[in-house]
Every structure is written in C-alpha cells, then in structure tokens.
Point group: C2
Chain length 259, copies 2
C-alpha cells in the first residue's frame, strides 16, 4: 500500500482468526507490527501483544460504524491504523462497516489506503475440527436480526435447505434475542430430514472450546451461545464413527443423482 | 494429536491459503515442520520449502481419492503425513476426500489421528482485495459437474439468487467444460438485476494476480480461468469509486426492508 498518491494514511482491517495465535497469518502479523493505533472490540484487542508506542482504542461490539469512522478519521490524519476483527473481517465483521463508513463519509475517507487482511473465519475453523461438513456447496447466514428482518432470515434458511446445501449459522443467539436458533431449527425441520447432523462449535481454538454433535431432530438450542458457530449439514452429510476418537462429519464431494 | 491411543500415525490436512507464504498460518507451518511425507498437487507442493529428510509425492489435481488413500496408508504405517490443499482444505478440497477414503476404507484408517488445519480460502482472499462483497449472507458453489449433475448447480444458483445472497463460484471453467461460467451468468441474469457487481479474482496473492470488476449484464466469461474465483454480489451490493485507487465493492450489513 502506498500513502504517497493520496496524502492520507493507511487503514489495515485485520482478521485475527478464531482464537489462539496459531491461526494468525504472517500478513496479519506484519500489518499489526506496522500499525500505530488499534481499534476493535476489547477482547479482540486483548489478544494482541502490543508494544509501548502502539495505542489501543477499545469499543463495544455493537458500535461497529462509530468504530469504523473513528479509525478512518485517524488514518485521514496520516496515521497507520489497524481495525481488528475476530475470524475474517469480511464475514459478518468490520470490513463491511468500514466500507459503509467510507461510502457515507467525507471525500477524504476515499483517499485512505485500505488493506483488508483475511483471516480464518469461525465456520472454517469449526469445520476443520470435525472433518469436512462444508466440503461441498454451502452458505453462511447470520441469525442476527439487528440489521435485517427475521422473515428474510427464515426465507434464506428455507431456500438454502431446499437447495440441498450445508450451512453455517453465525450469531445464533443473543441476550436480547434468545429464540433465534431454536426458531431456525424449527424452520429447517420443515425442509430437512431429522437425521441431518448439527454441529455446535464454541470458541474453537480457545481454552474453553466445546464441540457438540447432534441430529437436527434432537438439536438443543441451549448448546449455543454468542461464541458458537452452528453448522447444519445437508441430507448427504455423513457421520463416521471412529474407535477412541471423536466421530468425523463430512459432506461428500459428490451430490445429487448423477445425470 | 496423540498417536498412542490408536497405534497409527498422524495425518495433517493443511490449507496453504491462496498464494504467497504471507497467508500461511502458524498452525500450518508447525504441521508442515513435523511431517515426514507430503502428498498433493505438484504446484501446491512446490510452494513448500521442505528439508532434505521430507519426502514429497506429487499427483494430478483430479486424483483426490487415490491421493487420500495413499496418504492414509502411509499414516497407518506410522508416519507423520501431510496432505496439502491450496486455500482451505475444507472448501472444495482435500479434507472431504480424506473423510470419504476413511469411511470407505479399512478399519485401520479410522485409527489415524486426523488434524485438519484451516487456511484462507480463495473467496475470502478475493473479497478482501476489493472490500467486503461477502460482508453479508453468502454462499459458496462449485461449478464443476464432475461429481454432481449440472441441473443441481443451476437449481442452487437460482435459489441462492432468489434468497438475495451474494455468492462465490469456485471452479468456474475447465478445458473439458468451457461453458460453465457463461451458462451460470445466463441463469443468474434471469433472477438478478443486470447492475449486480461481478468480481473475477484470479490467482489472488500471487505474482500473476488479476482482479476485474464488471456488472452481471456485461460479465465476460473469458475473464475466468481455472485459477479464478468469481464473486457475484446481491442486488444490495455497492460499488464505491475512489480517486486514484481501485473501486471498493461491498455488501452492506443491513439487508431487506426493516420490519
């Protein structure tokens, strides 16, 4: 990235991956090393081992647009700024909020050199833990209805299930909306066989990781919390028992009747 | 991973990310360092800086199941084995092939300690390059009809477009099937507005990277080759012009009419 063309600074939007530092990429490490000011949700900033000259500005998880504007203001002033996201910044995270702020903001925001650094998103870390449940066509859907109507979420769940695709559900539950994931299971039970595997993957890669495998028929909403990514298989997803090891869950590369 | 419980060796299935070593995670680096034998498509193996005692077994990109069996045989014999994938091994890559081989193979395969190490998958590297086109609900669909009927692919394209979700298309074209991506565009034009942004992201992170942005109405299949990931926005995806910088493309976090 060059700052010479536009006169403004640089804004890195960096994905930290799902948990431990072992999922950080070298590109993320470099972007963090060269940044002077860090914006993000406190628990994500806590994962960074910053040096004394690096400043941090923590904010609440729900203040994404305000955080994006503050980071852009700082970059416009010529600083090298880093906004951090857990997982991948492009998947239900800060990259879209930064783009929204740029489009709606002053002309100076458009001159900032924006560098989005991808990370390991929760669904792919979760999938890796159990085998390959997203090994064929799949969708990623957020169950949060803060920014979209619930009827649209239900429509998407139905269409993706009718398409025979596996899916990963982000933001399955919150204090304000405790019924989202249970309602989603009810919708999906109308379309999918009861035997479809459901994986609750909580805090993958962290000390408090917890993985639970159930069928859609018996899936228990109480297994999900805010740190959980829920993966729903398709009718073709397989569970393979292994002696002395957890079962494997995978969706075969082949799908549907051959022509 | 422990090898003591089962008596068999370890099989790492590692994602190398989209291109340069800067997208490799520390977990991938560690798995590679401790492995003795490497299986994979030749160009992926070429990316590794192996030491003299580390053996490599290259195979053609289409021989995934045979490669998985060979790697499992090697692990059963007690070796620490590494199967490499470009991108993420759980997204249209080797993790599902290894799981299939385990399910269909001898009992000894089920005793192998399997460790899938996630990587940055092509669509997320491509999305990061242009902004956040997958910033809201999205799907990943392979256009290869080697292992599923084309009618199923068309059905999935239609349903995902009807759901108003962005999508990433893997394997958009091949020598044997040069018409896939063009046919997919025709199908999508029946459902989506012509102004929907289409991103052709070729070889992201490599020296021969090439990004092209078009509308769905004008999308040119000739922009895609085997190394291209194609991202189709939704009707809500935005393009933001920037002076002296490439345009940003993003899908807003908000979707649909508010209730």
């Amino acid at each position: 990235m060059t700052t010479l063309e536009t006169g403004a600074g640089t804004l890195h939007v960096v994905g930290l991956g799902p948990g431990g530092p072992e999922h950080l990429t070298e590109a993320a490490r470099l972007a963090i090393a060269e940044s002077g000011v860090f914006f993000g949700y406190g628990p994500y900033l806590d994962r960074l081992a910053l040096r004394p000259h690096q400043r941090r500005v923590a904010s609440d998880n729900r203040e994404e647009l305000a955080r994006a504007r503050a980071a852009l203001d700082c970059a416009v002033a010529g600083e090298t700024v880093c906004v951090v996201s857990g997982g991948d910044p492009g998947v239900f995270a800060m990259a879209a909020a930064v783009c929204e702020a740029i489009e709606a903001g002053p002309e100076s925001y458009r001159k900032v050199a924006l560098n989005v650094v991808p990370g390991i998103t929760a669904m792919l870390a979760a999938a890796a833990r159990v085998g390959a449940p997203l090994g064929h066509d799949f969708a990623a859907i957020s169950l949060s209805d803060n920014l979209k109507p619930w009827v649209l979420i239900e429509k998407r769940l139905r269409l993706v299930a009718q398409a025979g695709m596996a899916m990963a559900l982000y933001n399955p539950i919150s204090k304000a909306r405790p019924h989202q994931i249970g309602t989603a299971f009810s919708v999906l039970r109308e379309v999918l066989p009861g035997g479809v595997p459901v994986i609750f993957a909580r805090a993958v890669g962290r000390a408090d990781e917890r993985i639970a495998l159930m069928t859609l028929a018996e899936a228990d909403p109480a297994q999900a919390d805010m740190a959980t990514c829920v993966i729903i298989g398709s009718a073709e997803t397989r569970v393979v028992a292994r002696p002395g090891l957890p079962p494997l869950v995978y969706t075969p590369r082949a799908a549907g009747a051959r022509p």
